[in-house]
Amino acid sequence: MKRWVALLSLAATWLVASSAVALPRMTLTAGSRCSNCHVNPQGGGLRNDMGFYAMAQAGMATWEQVGWQKFHDLSDNQAMDGRLTYGFDYRGVVAKLGAPRWGSDGQVVEPPRIPVPMQLTPALAYKINDWLSATASVNPLWWVHSYPGQSPADGWLQIKPAIGLPSLRLGMIQPSFGIRHDDHTLLLRRNPKALGQPLLPPAYADPGAEVNWEPTHWLSLDAAAVWGHNLRLADPQAIAADKPVFSGRLTLWPQVLDWGINSWVGASALVADGSTVLGGHVGVGKNYWGTVIGEAVWSKTRGNREILSTLVQVSHAIKDWLVLEARWERSQSTQPGQSDGEATSYVAGLQWMPLPNFELRPEYRWLDTKDYLLAQYTLQFHLWL
């Protein structure tokens, strides 16, 4: 009986979650928390058994239909009686990286379109006992291509006494701030005058601790303190020395279950070496159908550099395996004695899962800055377990 209840629960989770691939849209179409499907309470990365099962058959074709019955029958990503959870993420992109420039002949030279491997991250989580677990992942591609401040690995011990009580993560972690996006090209995370320089790099992590607390179904709280070494490497103009970084995030999760409406609204703050970053995020989604997400981030750093960035993103699930997505972003920067920075970005694309565990994301991207305009087609791909 218990087994049937568990299977029905898993099936229900799959039904509500299968129309989504990437955070943060997933929580709004599934009506569930990031931690329901991911080992990391922030979401992203290694999936737990629920997360694995939710996506195991969410493709245009199933593994069974293409003749891989053995993989189709794999019902979880666990071993050692459920103590060990394993997985990986591989992400890459084919795009024109960088910016156009003036050539020596007076003609505009476009950056070449190249394939860029971004992430190859095997990850493990081990449940030591009912309240203590260990999680670790490593990204070998860090040694091939990385941003300053990006960490080649993260890992933590998590103490989670019981559901409803605060949990504590200790280790190499990324402090919670705003929405955790899986696309690190967002203007929200960058300086419009130096677009290759993220304020919070992708896969950023520093040593420290974070408390995550979901006291009720409509509230979550996160508070972190880390030693900001990698954050300084990311933006040494903003942060001059390795110093403590403190962050906090509060999110409300209102739902109208009868209408299938899920939403969240929240605020974040991060302070480090005299720099302050504030953010607000809001999202509304309807089960199986689509989402609207908004986020704004304001920062003031050394030298009175201020950056204000805004994002609006909409998505619509045509099928479980095919989602339309569009995004508008605008970022502006000011600093006394320097010219202002400004960038606007439009992105429209598809999230297509031809098979479970495999996503292709063709997109059209329009980026207009004070220095240049670059419009291009790109293709992201994501393979995971």
Partner: protein, 164 residues
Amino acid sequence: MLNDSDHPRHSAPCHRRQFLTRMGALAGAAAILPGLGGCETAEMHTAPPKKGATLNFDVAVDPFKPLAAVGGFVAADIEGTAVLLVRTAAKEVLAFSRACPHAFLDMAAAPASKYDVAKGVWVCGWHISEFKADGSAVAGPASPSGKLDKFAVTFDGAKGKVTL
């Protein structure tokens, strides 16, 4: 692990037809993608470098004193064009465009930027791309296709001139 009864098999022929139909539709959609190439564009909002504009410098005079030693570098602007001057040898100064072709950042502003005398390469300190004397990237995210614009320089070991 679950057994087959937990994962009932689908009716394969029906799904195969469905799968092939969907693949065909998507292949058709993919076929029109090359035609969309016309929607790609690149434009500059800044003025092009003024061909023939020049800059005279003296390594004994500010702001060019960092060029007094091999490995030193300075940022300069020549009629609106951002240029990087690097002292690479006793009688050699190289001049490049200052924006790294990887992410368009000002290389002179990166604390880790340097001329690696032993390897004979300019290192962009933002993402550690390395560039040879001809401006071509040999390592890091700007490689293999990235290239810095290089400008003509005359230098006698003390004074010199850059020409765009």
